[in-house]
Amino acid sequence: MLVAKPGLDGHDVGAKVVALALRDAGFEVIYTGLKKTPEEIVRIAEQEDVDVIGLSILSGSHLHLCEKVEALLEARELKDKLFIVGGNVPKGDHERLRKLGVDGVFATGSRTDSIVSFIRERRERTR
């Protein structure tokens, strides 16, 4: 699983907390660190052959960044990867993100166990 911080936003507490929770739940977690471009994130996902890509975005630029990541995943035929997003995403944008191709949206305040069980269920289904 890849936890990534795209864009210029430097708020990484949530990303690290989710990374730690997933590691506790038995996942192998790679964290990119701050300020990665969509290109860098997709490249790391491809190189490390992760099953799940999780973006953490708190600056409000989630639509813009997710659109870019989704386009890159399509172009590189990486659509089999589970694509999830966390951060302060307003409710009105959840549907728009799903339409863009994001599989799960976990807004600020989501429980870590709900993220873990979502990933487990979706991976079960695709196996």
Binding site: V13, T32, S59, N88, K91, R111
Partner: protein, 540 residues
């Protein structure tokens, strides 16, 4: 709510966030056992436990300084004027992420971020617009800028000078605490060592040319928001402040040349008494450090001047209107703690850039405290309480112990460069999340006392991000670039590059460059050529 739904408070043991056991009752014996009354003293006198001024708010109430800025400089100017008309007494400027990262608005990395979380600034012209009609003598301005602080401070000084203010009398503050950016908030650009050098350049420059300006506001705030306890918040902030002092002393200045202009930015959420004791203990410890370790003679050198604000970390996305009440208590703590400046995160801040309504509510909250309930009448009203004084003694001891621990394992600069402080606070943040999820930490509206009915859309007015602001900003940048004297810009940037290479103070060259309308991106670029970029250690 049924009666048995109320909070279950265990009698023993009750340990506060700082790891101190809280007793059901405090008496003179507890105070004596914790070190006694020797350190209390009088306000305005060393060690300043009760306040840095003799009369505190009786003479001058706290400054109210809400964080504001978004979109273009024109829109930001409008919000500034709105806040000032409503009685705000200082400005706290929010910059967008490209500006904070030292990028111009037309940089490919800035795409989608221009004007989003703060005001976009490319050249001095943007400052001229943003501060138009605002008297810089009457309203003190705080610039929330770190990675690119040299450029934005230079713009502020250039603006003030052009508008006829005397730099020798100019007041104001820059956040400019880069070390905490490596721990939390993340707007670092250069590696750790040159980053400290740049902070040193601003301190040295201000000591000489802008002596009433506060060039650095050392932030425990963001470290606490990243997961640190109240004790660690103070300890890490003091260690960072000491790192800047040590650096500047090595340049040949004496501590009394600049220490009185260092200020602090701290966080308020959590237990009321623990926070009040944290600030009283911090004030005393800082005064002692500056006198005992650095030999300061000027008592002002050891003043822990602070902005203490209601922290976003205490607010919740659930039932957002509860945050209005939380903010009021945080402001109360701030006033009871003898703050110089107060700010509150707005109730809608977990969702959006605060609306006018939310900003005004925060301002009104602070004004109600100031005007209606007697908080300005008496200095340090909790002083002498067995509980608060005991806790103050205990907190001082704990802060000192954390500081000694870090010093003993190679010092704060190394710990930050290696990512050790970051990893420690993230693990604590994770532990706190687990406690919240298990309801061991109670949070009203989140894990207790919550409305069970399906939550309707929250009554929050979302701030609209406008693509056209970005286009306007880039158009202005293009125009400024075409109108300026390119040769003058190039000469100034060349000088900057030379000075950075030679290790001399870059501030005069940056000021020359911004006066010639060099962009934020151009100044940063020249510094990156010399200093390189920080490579983040990935530890979590």
């Amino acid at each position: 709510m049924k009666e048995n739904d109320g909070p279950v408070v265990p009698l023993f043991p009750l340990i506060n966030e700082s790891g101190i056991e809280v007793k059901p009752l405090y008496t003179a014996e507890d105070l004596a056992a914790s070190g006694g009354e020797g350190g209390i003293g009088r306000p305005g006198e060393f060690p300043f436990t009760r306040g840095i001024h003799e009369l505190m708010y009786r003479k001058r109430p706290w400054t109210m300084r809400q964080y504001a800025g978004f979109g273009t400089p024109e829109e930001t100017n409008e919000r500034f004027r709105f806040l000032i008309e409503n009685g705000q007494t200082g400005l706290n400027v929010a910059f967008d992420l490209p500006t904070q990262m030292g990028l111009s608005s037309d940089d490919p990395l800035a795409e989608g971020e221009v004007g989003r979380v703060g005001m976009a600034v490319d050249t001095l012209e943007d400052f001229e617009i943003a501060f138009d009609g605002i008297d810089l003598d009457e309203i003190t301005v705080s610039l929330t800028i770190n990675g690119s602080a040299v450029t934005l401070m230079a713009m502020y000084f250039a603006l003030a000078e052009r508008r006829g203010y005397d730099l020798a009398r100019l007041r104001g503050t820059a956040q400019n605490d880069i070390l905490k950016e490596f721990v939390g908030r993340g707007t670092w650009i250069f590696p750790v060592e040159p980053s400290i050098r740049l902070v040193g350049d601003t301190i040295e420059y201000c000591a000489e040319k802008v002596p009433r300006y506060s060039p650095v506001s050392v932030c425990g705030y963001h470290i606490r928001e990243s997961g640190a306890s109240p004790v660690q918040e103070m300890a890490y902030a003091f260690l960072i402040a000491k790192a800047y002092i040590d650096h500047v002393l090595a340049r040949g200045l004496t501590v009394d040349d600049f220490a009185s202009r260092l200020s602090f930015n701290f966080d308020i959420h959590g237990n009321l008494f623990e926070q009040v004791a944290k600030f009283r203990a911090g004030r005393r410890l800082w005064a002692r450090i500056v006198r005992e370790e650095y030999g300061a003679r000027d008592p002002q050198s050891g003043w822990m001047r602070m902005i203490a604000g209601g922290g976003g970390g205490g607010l919740t996305i659930e039932e957002p209107e509860n945050n209005i009440i939380r903010g009021a208590y945080y402001a109360l703590v701030s006033a009871l703690s003898g703050t110089q400046t107060m700010a509150l995160c707005c109730y809608d801040e977990a969702y959006t850039i605060p609306s006018e309504k939310a900003s005004r509510l925060s301002l009104r909250t602070m004004q109600i405290l100031m005007e209606e309930i007697g908080l300005c009448d008496t200095v340090d009203p909790l002083g002498g309480s067995y509980y608060v004084e005991t806790l103050t003694n205990q907190m001082e001891e704990k802060i000192r112990a954390v500081m000694e621990g870090v010093d003993g394992s190679g010092g704060i600069v190394r710990a930050i460069a290696e990512g050790r402080i970051q990893a420690a606070v993230s693990r604590q943040a994770y532990e706190n999340v687990k406690k919240l999820e298990r309801a061991e930490i109670r949070k009203v509206g989140v894990n207790c006392c919550r409305t069970d009915e399906e939550e309707k859309e929250h009554p929050i007015e979302l701030h609209a991000f406008r693509e056209e602001d970005c286009r306007r900003q880039i158009e202005r940048l293009d125009r400024v670039r075409s109108e300026r004297d390119g040769g003058e810009v190039e000469r100034a940037l060349g000088k900057l590059h030379e000075n950075a290479r030679a290790g001399s103070n870059v501030m005069p060259a940056v000021i020359e460059a911004v006066k010639a309308y060099a962009t934020v991106g151009e100044v940063t670029g020249r510094l990156v050529d010399v200093y390189g970029r920080f490579r983040e250690p990935i530890l979590f």
